[in-house]
């Protein structure tokens, strides 16, 4: 029991410090803290439609973070979720736009599958380069994010261009309404069912499958894993495929759900926030789900805040950055306590 309390403190304290530092900055620059707190409360929970918006953002964050939990447990730094989301969206949009007259019962599963495969293959590029070419995955996933963004820019201004769009943002035409899993709010029974299935799958993979056990061993002590005769390369490749599959699914759901189309430059920070969600969720599926609700609420508040408060939404980005900055730090007093417990 005390283990859980300690873990709770370890997660809650950086978040509390981040909010405290953010509020000090807001107060110092002349904003009314009560107004900001009210805006957060309204934007994430209380105002009409707010809770829906929080869930709307929690859905992709949860799904992406399941994949990131798997990659981090294996000790791989796949920070390419941003690109994998785009490729997943591309897969789903292509299927939905190329088969307009077909039955939704056929097209929706196909589109989801195309999204999953798109994300998984994009992620596997970094995996193959890591496993067989010993190339650092951090730089490669970063590069793949850039390449994916350019690729989608080309797709949405070229082959799948929507001639009706005006202005700066390029996008594909709208997906037919029969193929959509939710309206613009991004919350529906179908989407929530998919999240629950994804969470159950992630939980089984992580906690109850031979792969989960092996990948944890590879991540925590690769030498022991090698001595045990585990096929480390195969485990790594599977990890990359799974991470990309989850991110790709999230991208597909964006296209079939709230946005109804593939848009250039949509959701630019989702992939990064999902990494923070995975860590705050203590690298477990249920934890990630809970953390996704919290950060989904924060994301909803970020979009809502400018409406009710003078505080610009970038203020909450600061808090998000501070959380990421502090969340992995091992503060001395906690370390001392742990050492003391080990001695006694």
């Amino acid at each position: 029991m005390s283990r859980w309390i300690a873990a709770g403190i370890r997660i809650a304290s950086p978040i509390a410090i981040a909010f405290a530092l953010g509020f000090i900055l807001f107060a110092a620059t002349g904003y009314d803290i009560a107004e900001v707190v009210n805006g957060l409360w309204q934007g994430a929970i209380a105002a009409p439609g707010s809770l829906e918006q929080s869930v709307r953002w929690a859905i992709p964050l949860a799904i992406i973070s399941f994949g990131i939990v798997i990659t981090l447990r294996t000790g791989e730094f796949n920070i390419g979720a941003q690109g994998q989301i785009l490729l997943g969206g591309f897969g789903a949009a292509s299927v939905a736009l190329l088969l307009p007259g077909w039955s939704p019962l056929l097209v929706i599963p196909l589109a989801l599958l195309a999204g999953v495969i798109g994300g998984a293959l994009w992620s596997a590029i970094a995996g193959v380069l890591k496993v067989w070419f010993n190339a650092d995955e951090v730089i490669n996933t970063l590069m793949l994010n850039f390449i994916a963004a350019l690729l989608i820019q080309w797709v949405t201004t070229g082959p799948l261009k929507d001639d009706a769009t005006r202005g700066e943002t390029a996008s594909t035409p709208r997906v037919a309404d029969v193929f959509r899993l939710s309206d613009g709010t991004g919350v529906s029974l179908e989407l929530i069912a998919i999240v629950v299935i994804a969470a159950a799958l992630a939980w089984i993979i992580i906690e109850r499958s031979p792969f989960g056990l092996k990948s944890k061993l590879v991540g925590s002590s690769p030498r022991v894993a090698a001595w045990q005769g585990l096929q480390i390369k195969r485990i790594h490749i599977t990890t990359y495929l799974l991470t990309g599959a989850f991110a790709g699914l999230a991208g597909a759901l964006e296209v079939l759900g709230p946005s109804a189309r593939l848009v250039t430059g949509a959701t630019p920070t989702l992939g990064f926030t999902a990494i923070v969600v995975a860590i705050v969720g203590m690298l477990r599926a249920p934890g990630a789900l809970a953390a996704a609700l919290f950060f989904g609420g924060l994301q909803a508040a970020i979009l809502f805040l400018p409406i009710v408060s003078r505080l610009p939404s970038s203020g909450l980005r600061i808090i998000e950055g501070l959380v990421a900055l502090l969340i992995t730090a091992q503060f001395i007093w906690l370390r001392r306590r742990r050492n003391r417990r080990r001695q006694s």
Partner: protein
Amino acid sequence: MEQFVVTTIRLSAPLIFAGLGGLFSVRAGIFHIGIEGLMLAGAFVTVGFGSAIGSVWLGIAGAIAVNLLLSYVYWLLIDRFKADMIITGLGLTTLCVGGSAFLMNALFNRRGSMTSAVRLPQPVVGPQEGILAYVSELSILAWLLPLFVFIVWLILRRSRLGLHIAAVGEYPYAAEAAGVDISRTKLIAMLITGLCCALAGAELSVGGLAAFSENMTNGRGFIALAAILFGSLEPIRTTLAGLFFGLANAVGINSQIYAGESNIPRQFILMIPFIATMIFVALRGVLSQRRISQGA
């Protein structure tokens, strides 16, 4: 043609400042993913503080001070508090993206972008004919670039500090056995990275144009990181990699202007440096693997 060369230099200069700055950290074994954020902070403070006080040089001095502080905090977190350097680096970048946009709004009451009251001097002035007309666009920092590259090369390849940094990054146990203070060497390397990123941000914001806009670095810090790896962690090769990235960017921009002449979409040209980096990093990975297995 002359314009093309000048455009390449202008696009490369921030990448080279940030890349050579980041080189200090990367050679010390820190995969400094916060470069992106530090560049942005440098750009914002140069414009904000410089405009408020009316001097571009004091603006840059302020940017350097802020970046030294941020680098110190980053060092404190990853060295003293054993935080994960990748996650913390991403956090640093997000903090700077949010912080610069927020402070622009809170202190200067501007949303999206603000113009700078100051800009870097452009030593070659006047709308002359020919080459000089284009060259006059280059800021003093761009002119000082060769000197900067030389100083970085001197420190990294010909000084005791450079040797210590390389030792800490490549084989920390040996460095420690030789009496090198690992923590302190990392701190110095990261402070130098912060300083150079301030210059990169200044060149970006008040070198060519005179403005700051939200997230104006737009991934240039990550590209600088790619230039370091593409340059095999060597100062001269990193500089060349930075020039190559700037060149590809210039070609991409030009193909947009002269649309119709070529059938290759602009996006594919802009992809080239990223794909080249991936291929190059993979080739190097294979070679280093072979070297290790031969050595064993």
